[in-house]
């Protein structure tokens, strides 16, 4: 580790990040825009007031941020253009962010994605409208510190095709990045966004993106989120989505990497017949912690929502599922379904599951369920009795367990990318 890296390390905990903000403030993009300076300052203040969440906070009862708060992190260095190994394309067109900053060199051209940092003056009244900072300290931190992100705006009726958004962290030093992504679909627009978080290196680091996704009437977004951070990485992401009448936010979350990951989704269905799919899978190996937390707001009538989350836990790993569905009084004829299932492959693995339904409307169909189990010995024996080696038999049963969740992804390209990520996880963890 060289001297300049040492110097960039700040003190541990919230104070370190607040000092970072003070030091960086004058150089942050858009700080000359009064609305944005106010937004950032307000967010920094909100973060100062809250600090990092502890396990005494109900929403963080099962996820301990000690790996983040007890170590020092530095800001990314100015890019040194070294050959960065990148994963294969998950879609024909992709844009690449390195350490939270847009990389034109690594990105394809003719993709309807722009660098947020370069278009901030246009975004007053659009950026920060969905993201809440008062009770979400990581979102506050992101709002204060973001340097860049993807800006995707589709005109009414526009088909954005299939886009891969790849966020790469060069984990050769303990950096943090807080990219802010803004996705806005006009009426009837369509987009398949394959978002991958990917790390290369051995160092601890933090990747903490925030998405704001606006889905106008009749628009449809498939948001496949593939978290493949490096082994020592921390991934703390938050998605805010607002779906207007007849629109669909169709998401799938895969946690396959990182030492600690938590992905929060806050989805509001605000017009009749708006739909949300919040499916996901967590593949956790020894030493990993994965947390899938969702808040689904049914704020309009006739809205369907579907959620199937499956977690596979090996070694000494811990998984968390928290799913809250809030059905407002106005949201009559809500059709909600929530299922979360965990497969424990080891005695030392642990899953915490917390479904929460709050229903204020009287004409509602809402069901939820949770199961925890081990691989079925009879099924395993049946496969082995046919000559299939034990390791292959296990992977077939795990894939079968996950298949139901992946089957919920109707976009073929997204499904293929997810299946490949699952296969990759299995290859690394097969034993």
């Amino acid at each position: 580790m060289n001297a300049s890296v040492e110097n960039s390390l700040s003190e541990a905990g919230a104070a370190g990040f607040l000092h970072r903000y003070e030091g960086l403030r004058a150089r942050l993009p858009g700080i000359g825009l009064p609305w944005l300076a106010a937004l950032r300052d307000g967010a920094a203040e909100a973060f100062r007031a809250q600090g990092f969440p502890t396990r005494r906070v109900e929403a963080w009862k099962y996820t301990d941020l000690a790996p983040l708060t007890q170590a020092g992190f530095g800001e990314p260095l100015t890019p040194v253009e070294s050959a960065l190994p990148l994963p294969r394309h998950a879609a024909p067109k992709r844009v690449v962010f390195v350490d939270g900053r847009f990389s034109p060199e690594l990105s394809d051209t003719d993709v309807p994605v722009r660098s947020l940092a370069r278009h901030l003056p246009e975004l007053e009244g659009r950026l920060g409208t969905l993201a809440r900072v008062d009770d979400l300290p990581l979102v506050a931190l992101n709002t204060a510190l973001f340097e860049d992100g993807a800006l995707i705006e589709l005109a009414p009726g526009e088909d954005g095709g299939v886009i891969e958004l790849l966020s790469v962290t060069r984990a050769d030093r303990p950096v943090t990045s807080h990219p802010r992504h803004l996705v806005r679909l006009g009426e009837g627009a369509k987009l398949v966004l394959i978002e991958r978080s990917w790390g290369h290196g051995e160092s601890r680091y933090l990747h903490s993106p925030v998405f704001e996704v606006e889905v106008a009437e009749g628009a449809h977004i498939t948001h496949a989120r593939i978290q493949q951070e490096a082994r020592a990485g921390l991934h703390l992401s938050t998605v805010f989505a607002r779906v207007a009448a007849g629109g669909t936010y169709d998401s799938f979350l895969l946690h396959a990497g990182a030492r600690l990951s938590r992905s929060e989704a806050h989805v509001a269905l605000v017009g009749p017949k708006a739909a949300a799919h919040l499916n996901g899978a967590q593949l956790l190996g020894d030493g990993q912690h994965g947390d899938c937390t969702t808040f689904l707001d049914h704020a309009a009538p006739d809205c369907p929502s579907r959620q199937t989350v499956k977690t596979v836990l090996a070694g000494r790993s811990r998984g968390v599922f928290q799913g809250k569905i809030h059905v407002h009084q106005v949201a009559q004829r809500t059709d909600g379904y929530q299922m979360n299932q965990a497969l424990l492959l080891s005695d030392q693995a642990e899953i915490d599951s917390k479904p929460q339904l709050e229903i204020y409307a009287d004409d509602v169909k809402c069901s939820h369920g949770a199961t925890v189990g081990e691989l079925d010995e009879d099924q395993l024996f049946y496969l082995r009795a046919r000559g299939i080696p034990a390791a292959v038999a296990r992977s077939m049963l795990i894939e079968a367990f996950l298949q139901e969740a992946i089957d919920g992804v109707t976009e073929e390209s997204a499904q293929a990318a997810l299946s490949e990520a699952v296969a990759g996880w299995w290859e690394r963890n097969a034993a």
Partner: protein, 247 residues
């Protein structure tokens, strides 16, 4: 040749097999008959290598190889096949994927080239036609939503594809109507030849009208108590197991 000598086994401390002696020479089909609780299914599971049984004594070899020292998949690769009394459902595992994975795993062990998807489908479809199985059973989850008869036919299909040297059929006749029974029996009879032997485990003589065995053994109280020709099955059917004196 399958050779079992003095085999004893217990489950959860309870002795089920109390000294089995049995030989099934290559090319022969033997039947094991016996009342409920006599140890028929335990014997088939112990031979196939299911966990949960403790072998407390004796040996079981197939063509000189020690079966009891092998993993279940190794036993399968040496040519042993168990048709399950209760075939297991595997939701999310497609039948075609399952069959091809099993077939190729065994071919790989034997050093034979693997079948690609097209070659496999061609072979599988031909066998399925012989067993009057609808083709969409390939696309469904393994045994998921299959009727009792379909599950048993799926077992015989697996046997036809895997071409074992010895098949243990554990009450393959249970739950079958007469037409399905004939189809299953035809499937087994088609396998018969100098390279194939079978151990047909059944409660009733009915199946043995269609799969005529070279020998019939009576299993009672964890031991083979009587051995005879096919006529022994008819004798048991007429007079019941009560007529057999425990040895």
């Amino acid at each position: 040749m399958l050779k079992i000598e003095g085999l004893t086994a217990e489950i959860e401390g309870k002795e089920i097999l109390k000294g089995i002696d049995l030989e099934v020479p290559q090319g022969e089909v033997h039947a094991i008959m016996g009342p409920n609780g006599s140890g028929k299914s335990t014997l088939s599971y112990v031979l196939a290598g299911r966990e949960g049984y403790e072998i407390t004594g004796g040996t079981a070899t197939f063509n000189g190889q020690d079966l009891l020292a092998m993993e279940p998949e190794e036993r399968a690769a040496t040519g042993l096949f168990l048709a399950f009394q209760y075939p297991v459902e595997l939701p999310g595992v497609g039948n075609a994927n399952f069959l091809r994975t099993a077939l190729n795993a065994q071919r790989r062990t034997k050093g034979e080239p693997e079948l690609d998807a097209m070659q496999f489908l061609k072979t599988a479809r031909a066998r399925m036609k012989e067993l009057s199985m609808p083709e969409d059973m390939l696309k469904r989850g393994v045994n998921v939503g299959f009727s009792g008869g379909e599950k048993k036919r799926n077992e015989v299909l697996q046997m036809a594809l895997l071409q074992p040297k010895i098949a243990i059929l554990d009450e393959t006749d249970s739950g079958l109507d007469i037409d399905a029974l004939k189809i299953v029996a035809d499937g087994v009879n088609a396998m018969r030849g100098p390279e194939f032997s079978a151990l047909v485990i059944t409660h009733y003589q009915r199946l043995l009208d269609y799969i005529v065995p070279d020998k019939v053994h009576v299993l009672m109280g964890g031991r083979i108590v009587q051995t005879g020709g096919p006529e022994l099955a008819h004798q048991l059917e007429a007079s019941g197991y009560g007529s057999v004196q425990a040895a």
